[in-house]
Amino acid sequence: MFSYILRRIAQSVLVLFVVGLVAFAMFRFVGDPVETMLGQERTVEDIERLRENLGLNDPFFVQYANFLLRAAQGDLGISYRQGRPVAEIIAERLPATLELAAVSGAFALILGIVLGIFTAIRRNGFAANAIMTLSLIGVSLPTFLIGILLIYLFAVELSWLPSFGRGEVVQLGGWSTGFLTQSGLVALILPAITLGLYQMTLIMRLVRSEMLEVMRQDYIRFARARGLSQRAIHFRHALKNTLVPVITVTGLQLGSIIAFAIITETVFQWPGVGLLFINAIQFVDIPVMAAYLMLISVMFVGINLAVDLLYVAIDPRLRS
């Protein structure tokens, strides 16, 4: 058990090193930062001095080690465009993205599991079939189109919900939250649905097919033969066995909710890190791009680690 966790952590660290290498390589290969930083009237001495100061004359791997060391201490460099520390910019933007991801993740997970169970139990019912057909649309429509359609319907035609921004936010320490104001909560609805719809249909279809598979197992037959109630069979015996594969996919999906919030944030002008990243690409703001890449990989790796540990919590066979 201990060695299992240790192995997982070692693997995670390895992944982070590799992603760090890719992020760092961007500095080296996407243009020369010295060119960008110094103006037209520069001397060879200026360039040399700046190179020395920035450590650009050191061997590649020494630079990489320094980069990692600084990144580990929270120093992600300075944005070329805004001239402010990247860590500070991200800290401003991150709450918006995380809150959006949390709400849409919860939406996808809860609704996905509930509908998945429903469509599995009422396999041939009218409602279940209708949901399955609708879910196909959810899977096949691209995110930006869903966003635009929702804006058109609920913001433009019905004027029920705002079409962009976070609404009013409240500062709690360094964290700006939209959860505490009405306009903040209302502003979350459309982007959260847009971002979570695809994941929701995916989880629902997965839960359904896993549940149908589990319902064919001998232990379900035996549970029936013992005279247990339908509810106990469906929600105790079948659901828990369904969860193991569902957790894997859900973990990855939660990661991509954060990573691919870019499109939703663009459509809804949501002031999160995704929008920051798009802007950074436009202006070749390499420190911001590198930091974003690192951040996403840390999240993916963290979620995967959590998934592996959850497996162990759910399935006693992995504990021995």
Partner: protein
């Protein structure tokens, strides 16, 4: 009044194209304290009867005729709610595979307590006390600790005891046991059957024991009903039905049962219903290469081979724990003989076979084939040797690739070794399929179109494609019905006789081993404890473990000898 009465029962599975009748006009009565055997081959409708009584027929199956009465009251027409009240409370069921009957994610105690509370309305603490009591009653030691363990922490036999404990939660009057010991070793089988017998005798439970195993029927049941293709063909007291069978199907079924006591030249085939398909192995002998060694010379020499598996992984090699699956096994197999390996599951029989075949690397010792070293390393075994040996596996369903056509499956080994191509390969494939009794046109079909026995014939044809000298058969018939088993075993006997093949024959079924093998090795916990001539081993076993195994073998003394041709 009978405890359970099945009267003129018909169960049908209507599908779009036609209606399949699984059970037709079946009669069956169970009295309190009686064990009623229900025997027949797969597809005979035995399990369907069990499911119909429980109200657990898989849709679209339904009862289309007849009645089921419990204590005189009709239960076949009850609605779901009334049936759920009966199910598990008055009538319980035990399934075949204890590995899959228990939910792996809940402790044994949780599953027991849940069931007890569902039926008896006890408090949590009372239910827990009862759970511990039940576990103790089915003979599991340390019930207080084991109640908090998960199913995977129990051995197969102990799991089946847990399943029985679950079936006993509310003191049912009837237990339907559907092949309760088929997945278990003989010694465990005897214990579980004793437990079921005890329930019938001491607590007056009526038991329907569904099985395909005549040995279980002979040892356990009071009354037996024989089914064939959904119909009851014969019913009566066990001794009478087995000793003086009346119906021709019963007669041929009993004749096909391998006898532990006498060695036959060939197995009698079930002739009822015209199901026998011929095979002609002797025709293959004409262009089969002559063996290099003469009959009786050592072909395979196994010198102290050992296999260890890591049982507990750890970062540091010194902290790792190993399980020795095979411990310094030493034996030789002579040219032209059938060498048997017997033992319970986990004793290392299959591991030895896999090491000889080069599927597992050997951790110690050597294997020689015709005097040349063929010990399997991490890279496997030499190519020329692979061609000489072929394997036939236990499960005919998973050992054939479902996406490949049968002729491709049979041709693959010969093509892989570059032995034949084009028309010559096609001719070889057609000939092989023909000779194993499938007909050359079978090559155009896919595996799922065949029954278990036919698939095992495909496996045999595939194994013969490279014209091997040595066949490894790993439980080749334990997944098959007794009539099919007789056919497959006869094919294997023909192979040995006409093609002069040498065989390693692995089985847990002692009567089969007695019929098939010239010499036998007995395995226990990875060690080869005894090697002897088959007849000598059965007549005078030397090792205490061999004696124990032989004593657990069903006697089958009362079986009719009609239709047997003794060697």
């Amino acid at each position: 009044m009978a405890l359970l009465e099945i009267d003129n029962l018909t169960v049908q599975f209507p599908t779009r194209r036609k209606t399949f009748t699984a059970v037709k006009n079946a009669h069956l009565t169970v009295e309190a304290g009686q064990i009623h055997g229900l025997v027949g081959e797969s597809g005979a409708g035995k399990s369907t009867i069990g499911a119909a009584v429980m109200g657990l027929l898989d849709p679209p199956g339904r009862i289309t005729g007849g009645v089921i009465r419990f204590r005189g009251e009709e239960i076949s027409g009850l609605d779901a709610a009334a049936m759920a009240d009966l199910r598990g409370k008055k009538i319980s069921m035990i399934f075949q595979d204890p590995l899959t009957s228990l939910n792996p994610l809940f402790t044994v105690g949780q599953q027991l307590v849940e069931t007890i509370k569902a039926h008896l309305g006890l408090s949590e603490a009372e239910a827990e006390a009862r759970a511990i009591d039940l576990i103790e009653r089915v003979g599991i030691p340390n019930p207080k600790e084991r109640v908090n363990q998960y199913p995977h922490q129990f051995s197969g036999g102990m799991r089946q005891r847990v399943v029985i404990a679950l079936a006993l939660c509310s003191e049912p009057d009837v237990i339907i046991a559907d092949e309760p010991t088929t997945a278990l070793d003989v010694s465990i089988q005897a214990q579980i059957l004793d437990l079921i017998k005890g329930l019938a005798r001491e607590r007056q439970v009526g038991v329907i024991l569904i099985t395909h195993d005549m040995g279980v029927i002979a040892d356990t049941t009071d009354v037996v009903t024989v089914m064939y293709m959904g119909e009851v063909v014969e019913t009566g007291p066990t001794a009478q039905v087995l000793g003086k069978p009346d119906h021709p199907y019963t007669k041929s079924l009993i004749a096909a049962v391998p006898r532990p006591t006498l060695k036959l030249r060939r197995f009698p085939l079930i002739s009822y219903g015209g199901r026998v398909t011929g095979f002609a192995i002797e025709d293959l002998a004409r262009n089969w290469p002559k063996p290099e060694a003469e009959r009786g010379a050592p072909l395979i020499e196994v010198e102290g081979i050992t296999k260890r598996f890591v049982s507990k992984r750890a970062l540091l090699p010194s902290r790792r724990e190993y399980f020795t699956a095979v411990d310094a096994a030493r034996f030789t197999i002579n040219q032209g003989e059938v060498f048997g390996l017997v033992g319970e599951s986990g004793s290392g029989k299959s591991t030895i076979a896999r090491m000889i075949a080069g599927l597992y690397a050997v951790d110690g010792g050597t294997v020689r084939y015709g005097g040349r070293d063929v010990t399997a390393t991490a890279r496997g075994v030499p190519d020329w040797y692979r061609r000489e040996i072929q394997m036939i596996f236990q499960d005919p369903y998973s050992s054939l690739n479902p996406r490949m056509r049968v002729d491709e499956i049979v041709a693959e080994p010969a093509r892989h070794h570059g032995l034949l191509k084009g028309a010559a390969l096609q001719a070889r494939v057609s000939e092989l399929l023909d000779r194993v009794g499938l007909g050359a046109e079978a090559g155009l079909k896919y595996p799922h179109e065949f029954s278990g026995g036919q698939r095992q014939r495909i496996s045999i044809a595939r194994a013969l494609a490279t014209q091997p000298r040595f066949l490894i058969c790993d439980e080749p018939t334990s997944a098959l019905d007794v009539s099919i088993q007789a056919q497959i075993l006869n094919i294997l006997k023909d192979l040995q006789e006409h093609l002069n093949l040498t065989m390693l024959f692995i089985s847990h079924d002692l009567p089969v081993v007695r019929q098939m093998c010239d010499r036998v090795g007995v395995m226990k916990d990875g060690k080869l404890v005894e090697v002897a001539e088959t007849e000598a081993l059965f007549a005078a076993p030397q090792h205490p473990y061999t004696r124990e195994l032989l004593s657990l073998m069903p006697r089958l003394d009362g079986l009719s000898d009609e239709g047997l041709a003794v060697a």
